[in-house]
Symmetry: C2
Subunit: 389 residues, 2 copies
C-alpha cells in the first residue's frame, strides 16, 4: 500500500427531512447566503421552496445564482463571485448536483481572490481562502459533496479542468434520498455510470495490496449493480435511492482510491468529450469505459479483471482467465445499456473529426502516458475513441 | 436505511515514516505537548525516540504521562489533567494503542473542566471544550484514532464506561504500519478480534437495507480473515500490517454502522469482563461473540447469518440455512482459536461467580433488553456467559 493522507471533514446529514438540520451547521458562519442552483427543476419539485423556508425561518438572508449548467462554466463562477461581493455573503449553498456544487466551490474561492477565478482553476495553489460551502444534493454522482474538488469548463479555451484545494471541502452536505425521486431516468443512469467509473479509476491501478480499498470498491460497484436498476424502475424506492446516494459520496471521498498509485484514465478521455460536445459526464464515461477495458486487457492486467469478474459480477472461476475477464467487461457494457445509456458515440452524432485533438489534450491532462494504470499515448487514446464510435 | 450523521474529520496520516508529517498538523495549536503513553514498549522499539526527536526538532516542548494501562483508568486521566495544568500544555499527543488514545482524549476534555473528569465520563454533555488531541498508533484495534469515543474504567465502582463527544475527535492520527512490527502475537490477535467485533455489532442489526454499509462491513471482515493470519506468521509483512491497521480505523469511524438502528451487544458483555477481571478487551470479545451468535440464531436472524456465511466466509449456498448459519459461526470461533486466542472463560480462570452481577450491569449499559439486535435480558446474558465457560 502506498503512503497517503485521508481527510474527509464534511459533515454528512443523511436521510429524509435532514435539510432541517442545516441551519444549525450554517449559523456559526454568518447569515448571508448565496444560493447556487441550476435549471428550474428544484422549483418544480418543491426543493427550492423547502430550502428557502427552512433558511429564512432560521434568519438567513439569501441571494441567488441560478442557471448553472451541466459541465459548469467559468462564466457562471464569475457571475457568482460578483453576486457574492455585491451581497457581502458569508457562505455559499449549492442546491443541485455536482455541477452546482462544483460551481459553488469555485465561487467560494473566487470570492476570496482578487483576480479572475479561472486563474484559481488553472493554479489551485493560488487558493488561500474560501467562503464556507454547504450543499443540498438533488442528484447523486460526482461525490463533490464530500470532497475538495471541482471541475470547471472554459468554453473559450475548450478546457475542462479539475481543481483541488483543501479550502473547498463543504462544511456540511444534506443528502435526502427523497430529493432524487423526480430525477429523470437518464440522469439516474448517468449518475450510476459516474459512480462506477470513479471506482474503476481507483480499482484498476498498479498497487496490488490495497485490499481494504478494493473490498470497499467492490462493495460500491455491487451497490450500483443491485440498486441502480431498482432506482430506474421504481424512482420512489427509498432504499434504492439511499444506497445509490451514499455510494456516490463514498466513491469519491478518498476512501476507495487512497493508498493506490497512478492517475485516472477514463475521466481524462471523458472530460474531452464534455469539453468538445457538452455531453453528460456519466454518459461519456459509460461509453469510454468498456472500450478502455478491452483496450488495456493483457497478460499484465488480466488477473485484476478476473478479480473484478468474480468479486463484483459473481461469475464462477473459470480456467480461461481471459474469457472470464471479458465476461466482466461485457457485463459492464450490458449493464450500462440496460440502464438506458448510449453505448456508442455515433448514437450522439459524434464522429472522429476531433479525436486527434481530444487525445492530444487528454494525455497531458492526466499524464496518461506515464501515470495511467496502463500507459496511454495519443495514438492509444485515439484508438479507444475509435472503438467507441 | 435510518437517518444518520456521518462526521469523521480526523486527518489520517498513513504509511511508513508519516510521523514526520505530524509537526505541520500540530503547529497551529501551540508548542506545549502532553505525551501520553503506556508501558515501556515504545522505548524499547524506538518509537518513543523517533516521536520525541521529530517533535523537539520542530520546536515542541514535551511533558509526559507514562504508564497508561490497558482498560485505562480514571486515575490516569486525573494524573494527566494535573500534568496538563501544571505544564500549561496546548495539546495532548497519545503514542500507543486505544488505551493511550482514550486516556488522552479524556485528559484533553478534563483539562478544560473544573470538576473531576469522571463526571465527564458519566455525563459527556458536560464536555464543552477540549484540548486538541493527536495520536501516533502503535497498536491497531479500537479505532479510537478516528472517532470521538473513549472508554474509561473506574476500579472503585467497577464501571467501564464509554464516553462520546464531538470535542474528542483527534485532529490528526499517524498510522505507520511498521510501528506494529514488534507487537506481541497475542495483541495482534486480540486487535483483529476487536476489529471484527466492531463490525459484527453493526452488521447484525435490524435495519436490512443499509447495503453499502454491509458491503463495507463484509470487506473489513474479509480483510481480517485474509491478513490477520499473515500478520501473525509474518509480523513484518507490511501489506498485512497496513491492511489490518486501516481496517481498524474504518471499522469504527461510523462508516460501517451508520444508518442502522439499535445498540451493540457483545461489547456490553465484554466490557463487564474487562471491568471485573481486567482481561484484554479483544480476548473478551473473541470469547463472547461466538456464544452470542449461537444464542441469538433463530428463524428471525438466520437469513443474516446466511449472508454472513456466504459473503464473508465464501461458503456455497446450501439448502439448509441453519446449517449454513452454523458453518459461519463455527468458522468465526475457529478463526479466533487459530489466531491463538482463548475460546473459553475457564482458560482464564474465570468462573460463574460474578455472572449475575455482570449481567445486571451489562443490560442497562446498552439497553440490551430493548435496543439490541435480539433483545437480551439479564437471564439471557447469564446464559451467554455460561456458554463461554
Amino acid at each position: 500500500m502506498e503512503n497517503f493522507d485521508f481527510y474527509a471533514p464534511t459533515r454528512m446529514l443523511f436521510g429524509k427531512g435532514k435539510v432541517t438540520a442545516l441551519p444549525e451547521q450554517m449559523k456559526p458562519y454568518g447569515t448571508r447566503v448565496l444560493l447556487v442552483y441550476g435549471g428550474g427543476s428544484i422549483k418544480i419539485n418543491g426543493i427550492y421552496d423547502t430550502v428557502q423556508s427552512v433558511l429564512t425561518e432560521a434568519g438567513f438572508v439569501l441571494s441567488e445564482l441560478s442557471g448553472v449548467t451541466p459541465n459548469p462554466r467559468i462564466d457562471a463562477v464569475r457571475c457568482g463571485v460578483a453576486l457574492a461581493w455585491e451581497n457581502h455573503v458569508d457562505m455559499v449553498l449549492a442546491v443541485g448536483g455536482g455541477s452546482s456544487v462544483d460551481c459553488a466551490k469555485v465561487i467560494a474561492a473566487g470570492a476570496c481572490y482578487e483576480g479572475d477565478p479561472w486563474e484559481l482553476v488553472k493554479d489551485p495553489s493560488k487558493i488561500t481562502d474560501a467562503l464556507p460551502v454547504f450543499t443540498v444534493l438533488t442528484m447523486s454522482a460526482t461525490g463533490s459533496e464530500m470532497n475538495p474538488t471541482a471541475v470547471i469548463t472554459n468554453p473559450e479555451t475548450k478546457e475542462k479542468q479539475g481543481v483541488h484545494s483543501g479550502y473547498l471541502y463543504p462544511k456540511a452536505s444534506v443528502l435526502d434520498p427523497t430529493y432524487l425521486y423526480t430525477l429523470p431516468a437518464i440522469q439516474t443512469a448517468a449518475g450510476v455510470a459516474d459512480i462506477m467509473s470513479h471506482i474503476f479509476e481507483g480499482y484498476f491501478k498498479k498497487t496490488e495490496d490495497a485490499y481494504v480499498q478494493d473490498k470497499f470498491s467492490e462493495g460500491i460497484l455491487k451497490t450500483c449493480i443491485k440498486w441502480g436498476p431498482v432506482a430506474l424502475t421504481e424512482p420512489e424506492n427509498y432504499s434504492a435511492r439511499a444506497n445509490i446516494m451514499w455510494a456516490a459520496s463514498m466513491a469519491l471521498n478518498g476512501l476507495c482510491g487512497c493508498g493506490k498509485a497512478g492517475k485516472w484514465s477514463c475521466h481524462a478521455m471523458g472530460h474531452q468529450l464534455g469539453a468538445y460536445y457538452d455531453i453528460t459526464h456519466g454518459i461519456s464515461l459509460a461509453i469510454v469505459t468498456p472500450a478502455w477495458m478491452r483496450y488495456i486487457l493483457s497478460e499484465e492486467t488480466v488477473d485484476k479483471f478476473v478479480d473484478y469478474a468474480i468479486n463484483v459480477w459473481g461469475f464462477p472461476r473459470e480456467t480461461d482467465k481471459f474469457a472470464l475477464a471479458n465476461m466482466g467487461i461485457d457485463a459492464t457494457e450490458h449493464f450500462f445499456m440496460d440502464c438506458g445509456l448510449p453505448s456508442h458515440l455515433s448514437e450522439l452524432g459524434i464522429d472522429d473529426s476531433n479525436f486527434q485533438a481530444m487525445a492530444e489534450a487528454a494525455v497531458p491532462y492526466a499524464n496518461l502516458d506515464t501515470q495511467a494504470y496502463v500507459p496511454l499515448h495519443v495514438e492509444d487514446v485515439v484508438n479507444i475513441y475509435r472503438a467507441c464510435l
